[in-house]
Every structure is written in C-alpha cells, then in structure tokens.
C-alpha cells in the first residue's frame, strides 16, 4: 500500500507518495524545476545541480538538489526564489559556456534566464551529466560505459577503453544524451560559439514532450507541462 505525505511546494499543498523525490513530485504536479541529469526511472546522483531548491526548516533555508531529496511529512520547498534563480542562472551559464553546441543546453540556459555568457566558450562534447552511464548500467546492466578520471580529466569511457563487446547496442545512451541535437543554425565552430537563445529543444525522449510549451514564458518560472500530466494548477 502506498503511504502518502503532505508537502508544501511553492505554496501548493501536495499529497505525495512516500519515497518519491521532490523533483518527481513537483513535475508530476506541474511545477517544473529545470534539470539535466535526472531521467525518470534512473537513479539520481545530483550532478548537474540545476534542480536546486530551497528547503525551509524552522525559518532557515538550505539549498539542496530536489532530485536527491526525498519527500517528508510537512516539508516546505521553494523552487523559484530570487536566490535559487540567481544560483541556477550561474550554473546554467557555466554549462552553456562549456557546451554551447547542444540545443538542450542552450535551451536550459535560456530557460534559466541566461542572456549573456561571461566566460569564454569552450565547445566540449560532453557535460558529464552521466545519463548514458546510468542508463547503460541500470537499464540493460551492460556497464559498457563509465566515468574515468578525476576533476578536469573526468570523461566517459568504455571499460579500459577497449571492451566494446560489453555494449548491447541499445542506443539508449544516444537517445538520452543532451549533446546529440545541434543548435538550429547547425554546429558551431570552435571560436565562433554564441548563445543562440531562440529555440525550445527537447531534453527528454520526443514522445513525452508536447508540441510546444505555451504555458511557460521563457526564462521565468517553470510551470511548463512538458511532462504531460498537469495535475495541480497553482
């Protein structure tokens, strides 16, 4: 039997099944928190830090990622305060400066209100969100991909960079990768990157995304219904 707890997210009183994360609950009820490394069905590691929220306890608020935070009775969460908006903006800015060549990352940056990137662009091919690694390990138990290296040298690699036969060719890593869709104007050349800021791209598998995001004014608020199933209107 499912046990329910009552949580308060942005003032909405929500009955949520025990054991689910704040991010899942919020999305389910139409309060969209931007996120990158979270994929429904895969474990959450809190790597991208985009889904940060403020958890208010006894008048003190603490910044934490909503994907790893499990709901508890009486929990008070704020997803869109000025503080969170500023921090999220800065994280999205770091991400887009690192990998401007992805529609998904460009989209996240725009949604988080990035209008100007204050760092030199870098044009990486990977933002180390770990979607592919977890999908490979947790869905097919193939373990054909993993993280290698530390800090700046961290990258995704096959086991020992040679065991190709581990791969079961499910293509799930490619489907989930936020780097696979280039910006509308085509791939940017190194040294010519820019913040395009025009389009709405797809972060999740195509079927789950409605045609457009009419409910959401870009870059402000995240009440978007891209995870069809808008249950509570704030």
């Amino acid at each position: 039997m499912l046990h329910y707890v009552t949580v308060n997210i942005d003032g909405a009183i929500i009955k949520a099944p025990k054991g689910s994360s704040v991010l899942e609950v919020a999305i389910e009820y139409g309060i969209c928190i931007p996120h990158l490394c979270h994929v429904p069905g895969l474990s959450d590691i809190g790597a991208c830090r985009l889904c940060i929220v403020e958890r208010v306890t006894n008048g003190r608020s603490q910044v934490t990622t909503s994907c790893t935070l499990k709901v508890q009775e009486g929990m008070v969460i704020r997803t869109n305060t000025d503080r969170i908006k500023r921090l999220r903006h800065n994280i999205a800015e770091l991400l887009v400066a690192e990998a401007p060549n992805s529609r998904a990352i460009q989209d996240i940056a725009v949604r988080c209100g990035v209008k100007k990137v204050r760092y030199p662009f870098r044009n990486s091919n990977c933002v180390l969100c770990g979607r592919c690694v977890r999908a490979c390990a947790e869905i097919w138990h193939a373990n054909a991909l993993g993280f290698v290296g530390r800090g700046k040298n961290r990258h995704v690699e096959r086991p020992l960079n040679m065991r190709e036969e581990f791969c079961k060719q499910c293509d799930y890593c490619i489907q989930l990768c936020p780097m696979t869709i280039p910006p509308c104007d085509g791939p940017m050349k190194p040294g010519e990157e820019y913040l395009c800021g025009k389009c709405e791209s797809q972060l999740m598998i195509t079927e789950e995304v409605p045609d457009s995001c009419a409910w959401c004014r870009l870059g402000e608020g995240f009440n978007c219904g891209r995870y069809a199933g808008l249950k509570a209107v704030r």
Binding site: I45, G46, A47, C48, R49, L50, I52, V63, T64, T65, T68, L69, K70, R86, L87, N90, I91, L94, L95, A97, E98, R118, Y119, P120, V127, L128, G130, F147, G149, R150, G151, K152, N153, R154
Partner: protein, 617 residues
Amino acid sequence: MQKLATREDLETTRRQLLLDRKKTDKTIIICGGTGCKASRSQDVIDAINQELLMQEMDATVNLRVTGCHGFCEQGPIMVIEPGNIFYCHVTPDDAHDIVSRTLRDGEIIEKLLYTDPVTGEKIRTESEIPFYTAQDRQLLSRNREINPCSIDDYIAVGGYMALVKVIDSLSPEEIIHEIKVSGLRGRGGGGFPTGRKWAECYEAPGDEKYVICNADEGDPGAYMDRCVLEGNPYLVIEGMTIGAYAVGAKKGYIYVRNEYPLAVKHARLAVQQARKTGLLGEDILGSSFSFDVEVARGGGAFVCGESTALMASLEGKVGEPRPKDVHTVVDGLWHKPTILNNVETWANVPAIILNGADSFASKGTKGSKGTKILALTGRIKNTGLVEVAMGTPIRTVVFDIGGGAINGKAIKAVQTGGPSGGCLPVDKFDLPVDFDVLYEAGSMVGSGGMVVMDESSCMVDVAKYFLTFLQDESCGMCVPCRLGIDRMLEIITDITEGRGTMEQIDLLEDLADTVTQTSLCGLGKTAANPVLSTLRYFREEYETHINDKKCPAGVCKALIEYSIDPEKCTGCGRCKQACIHDAISGEKKEPHVISPELCQKCGICLSECKHEAIQVK
C-alpha cells in the same frame, strides 16, 4: 603477551610492566616519526644501538624509538632521561659521544643542544624550549612516552584504563552524555559536535552499525593525523572501541591514505597486537562486548577525506561523494548507521572518559573545548606540530611558538585550514583558534594546517595555488565544483598574467558564492574560501594586479621584470655565470645588465647576488 581475559588481568600486566621498566634507570628517546626519518633518524637509531652494545650499556639503558615529537624541523631529535636533555640535528657520527659522554658520564654535549633562534642561547632541556613551553600538549606529549609498535608501552603508561572504566561502570547513554558535556567537536575540519553525532547514531534504528576513523589527511602542509596515528595508534583504537561500545557497533575501520606508509604499518601492527591481547575481538576483557578494527588504505584521492566519498571507497566503489540529505549517522557505510570521526577526535576520547568531561571542557572557549594540534609551517623560525588550547590567539602561535618571521621580512598573513580555509591578515592575528570565530572571519580551523606568509607571498598567487590543487582533486561529479573551480582558476590566471579586468572580480565573487552554495559535498562547498578570503582582506592586491599590471610581492612572472641596480652591482659576475638563459651581460667589475627579452624570470640571479643589486619590479 598473554591474552588478557579480564579487567584484573590488565591491571596485573600493567603493574608487572611498570616493575620491568624500573630495571633500567636511563632512557634515550629518539624520534622515529616520518619527519625525523626523513632527516635520517633511522641511521642514528642503528648507530646508537650499536654503540650501546659495544660499550656494554644495552642492559642499563632503555632505547625508545617513538613517534613524532612535533619539532620536526630540528630532526633527528633525541631526549635523554633522566635530565630531560634535548639534542637536535643528531648524526650517526655523534652516537659514540652521546653514549660515552652523556649516557655514561652525564656530560652535556654543547654542539648538539638547541639554539633559540630568537635569543641565540643554547638550551639544555626539552622543557625549557620556547617552542614547547608555549604549548599545551595533551595528545602530542603522549607520543614520547611510548614505542608505537609496543602495546606493552601503551598499557604501562595507563592505556586502556578508559576502556576498563567504560566496560565496568558506564552505560552507552552515560558515555554519550559525557562526550556531549565535554563539548568535543570534530577535529577534521567541520567542527561538528561529536556527542550529537554519536547520539544520533545511537538512536538510529538497526543492529549493524559501524565506526570509522578518518585518517585520509590530504591538506597541503598538514600532518596532525599522521603524527597521532603513527605515534600512538593504540590511543586511536581505544577511542574507537569506546565509540563502538557507545553506539553499539561491532566493526570499525581506519581509513588511512597509502601515502602514509608508516602510519599504515603502525596502525596494522597495533590492531594485530590488540587482537592478540584480547583488546579487540570477541568478548573484550571478559565483557560481552565484541569489536574489531580493520585498516583500509586510501588510494590517494583528496576527496576521499569527505565522509560519503570515504564510505564509497571503503565499499569498494569509486571514491565519489553522494548527497547527504540523510546523514551518514543514519545511512552510512553499506547504508547502515555509521559514525565517522577524525584521528584527533578519536584520540581525545579516552582522556575525556578517564578524566571526566569537565577536565576537557576546562580548556578552550565557549564554543570550542580542549586542545587542537596545528601544523605550523611557512616563513617562520620554528616550524612543526603544535598543540595549543582552543582560544589561543593566532599571534601566540605565530610569534611565541613559531618565533616570528624568518629573514626579517614582515609577516603578512596566515592561511588556516588548508584548501578549505582562508587567509587572515596580520591585523586579525588577535583572533583565537576557535571554530566559530575563524569561520566568522572567513577562514576556518579546519584540520589544523597553518601556513604563515610574509611580504614575499602574493595573495592572488596563493589563491591560484589552492585553486589549482582543488581543480586536480575535485572528483568532477557536480557542475559547480568541476566547472566553477575551473572558471575561477581561469579568471585568477588572467589576473596574474595581466589580462584581468575589474568586472572579472565581480564575476569571481558571484561564481565563488554559487560554488559555495550549490556544490554537492564539503570539498566544493568550501573550495571558494581561499578566493573569498583573499578578496575580502587583500582586495587591493587584486586591484594592483588589474589596474597597474604589477605584482607587489614580485611573484607573478608575467607582471614582474628583473633588473640590476647599477649603483649596487660590483660586476662580480656571479649572476652572469648562474643565469641559465644567458640573459645577463656585462664586463668584469662593470655593472651588469639583464636583457628583458631573454630573461625567463627564474630568480636564480636573485638568490645568487651577494650585493642585493637584483631588483624585481
């Protein structure tokens, strides 16, 4: 040694050991810690041993090789009892004289005595050395009493009395209460109240619980934990045993970094001996309490000093932290309730239990009790391990114990707490060593590293050094830490190479704040402290780098230029000979010139010149 089945057995053994000790009237104590070993104390030990045999004094003189005494800079160091005679910089060649003159005839060898760098006087005994007198050595002083490879020594000096007291008369609640009242706070950096941690773990549901000793000390310039674990591993194990008794754990781990080979060796030996004597294992000392310890080695990642990353590493996974929305006292090693404390924290436990919480709490300030070991390094006269009561002003540590600046340059700042800490300027030196006060000031006590810097250090360069360290050591899992540190380093590099702008300082502050607030683990959350504290206290240095394109301390290579003062240059040609880039030219006895095109700013000429003619601008 026989297995000790009961508490009475332990007491009988202790009495017997003390009787045995009285048979020899003279003791020669030589430091065998890593610091002294590096200055060849092993050769001295061998030479002394041989001399004792040759002069037939091995029966009457007890040679004790101990752990670190703290004054590593003077190593190898030696203390001769009775008399408390302190010899430093001992070489194997001195062995004959030491044995025949000092040990046999009681004569003091002048040339081996310590010279006070402040007054220039020779000092005869250890207890008169200013470096020691200004300290309050509760933990470190125990190092010289025992041989870290002998559990007998530890038992003889009163070891395991706290454990006996615990098993005899204390309930877990009483132990936890005692630790709470003592006000002991985590010595590893966070300063979390130890008693509260234990209480939460005690209350956490589950039969299977663990205790862990964190000896994965990685801060540059800090070695407090190594010294305690190397010098007195039994103290740590006894503390862990008491902790395990209090929370109901049956298994403990000492996670020690593999770069500390001596600490690994001593910890392993201590565990083996404790098992053999029945002080670890089933039914300890005749009680129904069972506990065992395993020594695990760390693979060299700084981030594994973080509690959850350490646990992941112990579990055999990649040492990466995980979110701590549920604390490790409830969901720790193998998802079981776990208490993880630092070496120094564990080492403080036996004394608290034995002497009572009040005696521990009598030292220190309102929020920080007891003593703290600090690793004092940098541009001062006396460097080494220092133990002071909490609340001692930084000034006392730097000037009274450290002896003040070396080479007559003015001291500018002190960096406390390693890469997670910050830099405090000299006008903040009246602040006490206190968790809360230093945190308020933008730094932290941290694990206890204390690097003193003088005018020749550029604070922007210091921030750059720590960022480079953290960039290498960040696990790279979360965005703010991986990319944030990288971008902060990029900006600081711009500033030190003369490309900086004032807008970048604002960006740096904004970014530092983001990294602090949003990073996943403690490493990231504190990574911006070196930047934030230098920006707070030394902002003008940043501004000079940006606006005037000058490095006031003459450190940042892109912003300095070497030249020769023709007034002072005597044309001796030393610099010309020394320059590996052939950048210096000039005739003999004529002022020389440095060619700015060829000069690589290596600084060799600066150290070669006897006439202070080389100028750095």
